[in-house]
Symmetry: none
Subunit: 200 residues, 4 copies
DNA sequence: CATGAATGAGTCTTCATTCAT
DNA sequence: CATGAATGAAGACTCATTCAT
């Protein structure tokens, strides 16, 4: 049991550091975040960080995946639920909004046009984005087939616009402009996407 | 004439450095870009950079404004031309596409969600974004008044979606995915924005 | 005991650096002294210096106070001892001589006319000098009251001359001219100060 | 005549630079003084300084000698004038005072205990000091012979104290403490030197 | 396991000096 | 002669990483 406790504590310490790092990295910047600050915020010694993560770079990557994974999962869950396309999209948007509200600064790295500094990570991110895009594109294609969506739509473009709507418009509102987003605004936004601007 | 040439060359050196810096900063990152590399790429000595720019930070700021300014100008030009709202939007998108095609890496900083490290610059960027948003929102409001656009639209949200469409969808295609964008794709994309996904 | 030793060594490292810095600063010059040289002479790495002192400037200031403090203390001790004025002065001179012999290069900064580069430190030095002057001036004033000293003396001027005698004449002999000073020379020097040049 | 004028102007330009350098060096510090500032103050281009002086170091040395030479000359003049020893000393002091009042910051380097940075110059300074000391020591020896001065005096020590009185006490008053020195203070100071502190 | 003292590679920045005009 | 644009050597300082305790 004692051993068990130790294990737990060890595992906890790893998470402590990871969470502290997430906070520091996304408040500051990869280069302005220092290991010392992460260690301090995690309540451990500087050397301890290296007990659990081999380097600053690796720590950053883990922070990144950690944040992205839970998000991506929920995204795919919504896609696989049986429901109308419109409903699925609406749910994705709302889930995103919730996550972003909780995490403020965490997710934005995923959806940024700015390339990340680490080739390896950048590749991983592009792959994730591609998958998200494929998911949403398939959903739209399905919508077209079942005639929920107009048949002359370019599904990929529609997908890209949807992701931009979700990540950038909503993300921008919450993260950059730091605005309290009201539900009716979201509805209105989605309405435009779904029905277009054009009168009549 | 010789004197003229000298003047030109002097002025060129500043621009040489600026352009080299634009390249390095936007390929790498503020922190990974080094003055030495910028100097080398500009074909000048390290010290020469400091003859023209007082510090790395200041150099970065100038790079940034330099890239943004021409873009912002063309944006406002399109807004002030008398034409239908749809046409104006279409022109903005196409101009953006052209600029982005030429400049690949330059513009993305403006529309990134990732906060910049320099308070001062960050404030400037937010202000620019705000102005772009205001411009497009006014345009949409005008469109509503002249009944070119549906009257139940939230103009600000529509504006935000338009900017996302322009910067992120198109920018993403060109910059991140490095795709050759065909005109019909752009048309299709704008079509969705203007007419919506919803069938009938 | 082991722990004790560790503590001592840690504390020693700071002093190692400080002493190395004292040596380098006073041999060379603030600007010609380099952190690398100080580190090397202290037998530590460049970065280690910054573990103990936040900047070159701060290190210099500490060197300065370190050297001055012990001296100033002994000076005031002599002033507060009950004895004849002549005796007190004589003791001050001899203590100074001893210190200067041991430390050759250390003390001269205090009594130099050359202004230091750091406003803050310069102010501190002037204050120290002022206090030394006040101390000696009071002593002389006391001497006048008890009729040990002629009553027509300007006490401040007498004080200034005493300090010049002590710091500059003796300091100059030892530090600049690097001469072995014999006791009878000191006696002779003080004799002149006390009895004057004028025959009869 | 034109050629003559040019020559004159050239010679003037050299002096312009020298004087500007004297000002800058003694206001700031060898290391904080920059060639650019000297050039600006002299009203010439940066490159022009190197037309007249081979290096910053050489320029500094010339500044130094330039300042010292006129001083040393006047010192020796006083020594060679036939007059009583007391009178000669008094004249030296007053001349010094005048020079120092005019020049505030210039002369102090000569009489500083702090070694200068340039070996070569330092040697020169020591030699000058030695000569001053010899001069004044001879004067005192003469005073002893003619029984103007007590016969038990150590002439060298008396000479050193005299120089300290002149350079350090007076120099310190004017330069460091920036005090307006009144004539009666000088008289009082010299009085002490001549007659001693001792009552009776 | 945990720690933090020690380290030095890597950067920005300054400024004396050169040299083409 | 006069100039100032160009240069790079030199130095302070930061911080990720190591390792002895």
């Amino acid at each position: 049991m004692v051993v068990n406790n130790q294990k737990k504590e060890v595992s906890n310490k790893r998470e402590q550091i990871l969470l502290a790092a997430v906070g520091v990295f996304f408040e500051k910047d990869y280069y302005q975040a220092t290991i010392v600050e992460i260690a301090e915020r995690a309540g451990v010694g500087k050397g301890t960080v290296y007990e659990y993560f081999p380097s600053k770079e690796e720590l950053f990557k883990e922070c990144f995946s950690y944040c992205a994974e839970e998000y991506i999962q929920s995204f795919h869950q919504h896609l696989s639920k049986p429901s109308s396309v419109k409903e699925a999209m609406y749910n994705i948007i709302n889930t995103h909004l919730e996550l972003v509200r909780d995490n403020r600064k965490r997710l934005h790295l995923l959806f940024t046009e700015r390339p990340l500094n680490f080739q390896e990570l950048q590749a991983w991110v592009l792959k994730q984005r591609q998958e998200l895009l494929q998911g949403i594109t398939s959903l739209i294609a399905k919508g077209i087939k079942i005639e929920e969506i107009r048949s002359d739509i370019d599904a990929e473009m529609a997908g890209r616009l949807f992701l931009a709507l979700t990540y950038v418009v909503i993300g921008g509102l919450v993260i950059l402009d730091n605005v309290e987003v009201r539900d009716e605004q979201i509805t209105s936004l989605f309405e435009i996407y779904w029905n277009g601007l054009g009168s009549k």
